[in-house]
Amino acid sequence: MRTRHPFVRWLAILGALHAIVVCAGFFAPYDPIEQDRKNPYLPPMPLHLMDAQGHLHLRPFAYALKLREGAFDQYEQDIGRPVPLRFFKYGPGYRLLGFLPARIHLFGSKDARICLLGTDAYGRDQFSRLLYGGQISLLAGILGAGCTLSIGLCVGAAAGYFGGWRDDALMRVAELFLALPWLYLLFALRAFLPLSLSPLKAFFLIVAVIGAVGWARPARLVRGVVLSAKERDFVRAARGFGATDSYLLRRHILPETSSVLLTQAAILIPQYVLAEMTLSFLGLGVPEPAPSWGNLLSNLQQYSVLVSYWWMYLPALAMVPFFLGYLGLASSLQERLEPYKIERTSPGSLA
């Protein structure tokens, strides 16, 4: 017996994924900007249960890495030096959820560092950077989508509700924005803003730019819903009883737009996360040393990194589960809106 709608399941999956990123301090073993200059570009350290002699261990362990004979940047596993994983270990301090000071980490090790995804040019742990980077990228996506949707809601509601010349003017401007290529517009907007900024300023700038670019589509959708909602009988009745415009909008019309807005949010958030990644990847977004999913990948632009250190690519795959979650959510929400439509843009068979 299944009574719950599939979107509850997708919400749960997304919630779990986001919880990991929100509690990055706990899941990441190290500080994301702590450098270890002696160990640049360490390859990923796989975890083992079986040692070289074929004995089974209950506690997972990794082998420490040592330089290969005669090489200066090639490492190999040191079979003689297993580094057992310690769970719930005290490590570098962090603030859980941004305010709770804590020192406990999901895992860590006693002597050598365990870098599950290797390290970057400064010996920073890629796994920790990936988790912390998710905080920045996902927050940028969510805030950006919030920005876009509030602009879209205001414009769409104004255009749809008041109609007339206001509707015409607003929709012409929306058409203009729809005609501009999205990524180009993003770039052009970014071009006219200062290039080098502190990470915090850059972050909010990026959010504002990303959020300001895409308002036209949600505005048009909201306008459509408002247009049909304001002709509904109960709205007319309320108007007949002398309800003011603001009351009508607040109580009767805007609630009608909620499902469209939710669906749009599920579509926009991954798109905006990707936009942040693209900007940061190209050096126009959140600058180092703050990690973001985009600037984690930016050193792949160097040919030498591409050739020698393929594991620097691994963070690119991190957002695949997130995208899957959002796509599933969007498709199940859309299905709820139009139950009999054959799926086009979203993975119908996934739900």
């Binding site: 005609a179 770039f187 052009a188 071009a191 006219f192 803003l193 792949l300 690119a316 995208f323 843009t345």
Partner: protein
């Protein structure tokens, strides 16, 4: 004809609007190309003022817009500070490279998506269709950036394909066949990235559009008349399902210039994308505006082409706009 003219004037007005919008951004922009020079003690304020006057940066906005519009009409599209040459020719060379890449990719993507989508729609809900849905879903959740970078890593690790650029160093000395081969090898990875990122959406749209038509009574009647399967699918079903696909095709044409930006930058293909990025970093404003305008022209004309095609393909639209 009236329909045609109305659409054309609409597209034209849209372009004028975009050009004004793009130009307005320049005034909002803090700083310009010459600001960095101000820090240089060797360049006197007088020289800077002269430079600003030469490029008309000291004139009021409407005057600048008018003179820029004038140069757009002459195909120059303003003047690049960094390249010290008119923007137009600069953009056209890069746009040619971009189009080479994207037209190839678009043709391949549609060539794969059409038969695959029809094939899948015919088996709607059965195992092959479900497998294909899963495959497209998997492709859909891999972001463009990850896809392009992944292909790049693949290219480097296998060493099978040259990475970066459009031609090899010794391109000029190769025989014609060798030139073609070299170009094709260089194009493989970027084209693959573009095709793979476009495919899932195209296949899904074709599948949905055809599946909707396959249930229609006239299809059953046609099958009852004993029309062979292939004719049935491609002559009858595809034509009836063409409407949303034509709009989509218009969109494909529209993004020919702007859709490959990221792939070009990642794979260092000498197209519009890297030029735009470079000019953003050096604040070469007219190049940025020119690039935006050029790709907008494509987007708008893509929609225009789709409108015309729809008008030609769908009699319902013809009668609707004729009665108005």
């Amino acid at each position: 004809m009236r329909f045609f003219l109305r659409r054309l004037s609409h597209a034209f007005l849209l372009l004028v609007g975009v050009s004004i919008l793009a130009f307005l951004f320049t005034t909002l922009a803090p700083g310009n190309y010459f600001d960095e020079m101000r820090l240089n003690p060797q360049i006197s304020p007088e020289t800077l003022a002269a430079l600003r006057a030469q490029y008309q940066l000291d004139r009021p906005l409407p005057v600048r817009y008018a003179s820029w519009m004038n140069s757009v009409l002459h195909g120059q599209m303003g003047f690049s500070f960094a390249y010290n040459s008119p923007v137009g020719p600069l953009l056209f060379v890069r746009a040619r490279n971009t189009l080479l890449l994207t037209i190839t990719a678009t043709l391949i993507a549609w060539g794969i998506a059409l038969p695959l989508g029809v094939w899948s729609a015919e088996r709607l809900g059965r195992l092959p269709d479900r497998l294909l849905s899963w495959a497209t879903a998997a492709l859909l959740v891999i972001p463009d950036l990850a896809l392009a970078l992944g292909l790049l890593v693949f290219g480097v690790r296998t060493g099978r394909f040259p990475v970066g650029g459009m031609t090899s160093l010794d391109f000029a000395s190769l025989p014609p066949a060798g030139k073609l081969r070299d170009l094709a090898l260089h194009m493989t990875l970027p084209v693959a990235a573009l095709v793979l990122s476009a495919l899932p959406l195209l296949i899904r749209h074709v599948r949905a559009a055809v599946a909707e038509v396959l249930n229609a009574p006239f299809m059953l009647a046609a099958r009852g008349h004993g029309i062979p399967r292939r004719t049935l699918l491609y002559r009858y079903a595809l034509r009836a399902a063409a409407n949303p696909l034509i709009s989509l095709f218009g969109f494909s044409i529209g993004v020919l210039l702007s859709g490959s930006l990221l792939v070009e930058v990642v794979m260092s293909w000498p197209g519009l994308g890297p030029l735009l990025l470079e000019s953003i970093l050096s604040r070469d404003l007219y190049v940025v505006i020119g690039g935006v305008l050029l790709s907008t022209i494509f987007l708008v004309s893509g929609n225009f082409v789709a409108d015309i095609l729809l008008y030609w393909a769908d009699p319902r639209i013809r009668t609707k706009s004729g009665s108005r």
